[in-house]
Amino acid sequence: METIVNKRPGTGQANLEVFSETLQKLAQFDKDIIVVTSDSRGSGKLVPFAEKFPKQIVEIGIAEQNLVGVAAGIASTGKKVFAVSPACFLTARSFEQIKNDVAYSDNPVNLIGISAGVSYGALGSTHHSLHDFAALRAVNNMIIVAPADNYETEQAITQAAALNQPIYLRFGKKNMPHLLPESNDFQFGKGRIIRNGADLTIIGTGETVHPALQAAERLQAEYGINATIVSMHTIKPLDYELIARLAESGKPILTVEEHSIFGGLGEACASFLMENNYRNPFKIMGIPDEYTVTGSQNDIFNHYGISESGILAAARKLVS
């Protein structure tokens, strides 16, 4: 299939929109693609999909446990099922269905967590998913992916449809600039180096990679600090080979994620580094263990330093 999204110049679309467009492209040629929704076709940008492929969408209504159980039952008959629901509900309310009906029973459902992390902003903690990496990392037979830009999103959806394995993909709804002009290197389980630099490594995932890249440009321009930027789109299985390679120099490693600092990308990297005797200066950036500050996604990012200036400051401190 022709890749087009990564060639569009300038500001990209929301990853959610790319998810929907990609799914429509796939469904044109594959009647086994079935979308299952929980009154979430609007927030999942799936209204055009429903109009074009009315026989390939199953509406469940607001009942997330049932959404995942039914999705698993459909997937067991050989269909390529995309179960779409806000990440906060999908990975908490339906956790047992994900654990048993999808992962343990090995029904290859593509679990699509929409408006993930703090994308819902001022709607508050009920609507935030800051636990999903942690919860699903502890579930055997589950791939966890948070694409950073439109290219990664398109590739993740296309490859997930062909994968035939339980997988969780989470998307935000902010427009995401393209990280690289031309790309053809997306593969689950393989982190992407977006920028090379010798002084430290910043490993981001999902919508945090972009502010990390912005911070890297300023680190170089203003302070002469050269940072490597990695989009670690696959949280599990984690790209240990790449982390080891980046850690060899002994230079600092900073991780950034739109997730609790507990149990996510940062701690996954930390445990690997500790167990393999790497002692690089190391810091985890994310949402701390407290009642999350209120405000928009940008407000929350700024408050906790998951922003160009916040990452810049943390990187400078870590390098010094």
Binding site: I34, K55, V58, I60, G61, A63, Q65, N66, V68, G69, V70, A71, A72, G73, I74, A75, S76, T77, G78, K79, E96, Q97, N100, D101, Y104, S105, D106, N107
Partner: protein
């Protein structure tokens, strides 16, 4: 087609084997396995189009055991149908055996890994929806315990089943009226089950869950109504067939002693001789 006496004979053989393997493993859900085994007997020997020869076929009928803990009944019936050698059951609940205390797909013939309650109906609804999407005419059967009815996911799936007019779906409730704590009506009263499901858009029938001919006839008559999912409330006795186990909570997951095991086999042999 099997006669009533042949079905009755099979059920007694199944009961003896359930007790044999539970006694051997020193673990199992004795009472519930004995209450549901007549239903499984009739499903696998008269109703469903599924066997080792077509278990990979996309057109096979499906069975999902939501009350996964009564796996011993399922294993004994699947072994009898030739899905695996019965000697495999000697490893029941042993280190590294696939024959554990709940169904898993590692065992040939098992459709889904169950054990957590309230999961069988949503999974079955998904399979039934898929059949409708593909215009296939296979049927989906699922067995629920009455004690698992308070799980909310059952009621979510009950709504979906009637919303999508799943007349290719049949849920059977093994209504033995007991659960681990006591009477289901005392723990969390779900009566009247029939009216609840009817109000959710299901067509409901009651049956004596130990009467093979009644079970056979009612299963053959599904869908009970066009465009509606079917529910069978099978009235059963926990521990059925072994008089000292019948209707006793102790035997929810009680394991017989040597003396109790011998006495149970004698009683079942006596019943067999008097058929």
């Amino acid at each position: 087609m099997m006669t009533e006496k042949e079905l009755q004979t099979k059920s007694i053989e199944y009961r003896k084997k359930i007790l044999k393997y539970i006694y051997g493993a020193k673990a199992g859900h004795t009472g519930g396995s004995l209450s549901c085994v007549d239903i499984l007997n009739v499903l696998y020997n008269t109703t469903m189009n599924v066997g080792p020869e077509n278990i990979k076929s996309a057109d096979r009928d499906r069975y999902v055991q939501s009350k996964g803990h009564c796996v011993e009944a399922l294993f004994v019936v699947l072994a009898d149908k030739g899905f695996f050698p019965e000697t495999d059951l000697e490893t029941l609940c042993k280190y590294k055996s696939h024959y554990i205390g709940h169904p898993t797909k590692k065992v040939n013939g098992v459709e889904q890994n169950t054990g957590a309650l309230g999961h069988g109906l949503p999974l079955s609804v998904g399979m039934a929806i898929s059949a409708k999407l593909d215009g296939k005419d296979y049927k989906v059967f699922t067995l629920l315990g009455d004690g698992e009815l308070p799980e909310g996911s059952n009621w979510e799936a009950a709504l979906t089943a009637s919303h999508y007019k799943l007349d290719n779906l049949c849920a059977i409730i093994d209504h033995n009226k007991l659960q681990i704590t006591g009477k289901t009506s005392d723990v969390c009263n779900t009566d009247p089950i029939d009216q609840k499901f009817e109000s959710f858009g299901w067509s409901v029938k009651h049956v004596d869950g130990h009467d093979h001919l009644q079970l056979k006839a009612i299963l053959a008559s599904m869908p009970f109504e066009e465009n509606k999912p079917s529910l069978i409330i099978a009235h059963t006795i926990k521990g059925k067939g072994v008089s000292y186990m019948e209707d006793q909570i102790k035997w929810h997951h009680g394991v017989p002693s040597e003396e109790e095991y011998t006495s149970a086999l004698q009683e079942l042999d006596h019943t067999l001789a008097s058929l």
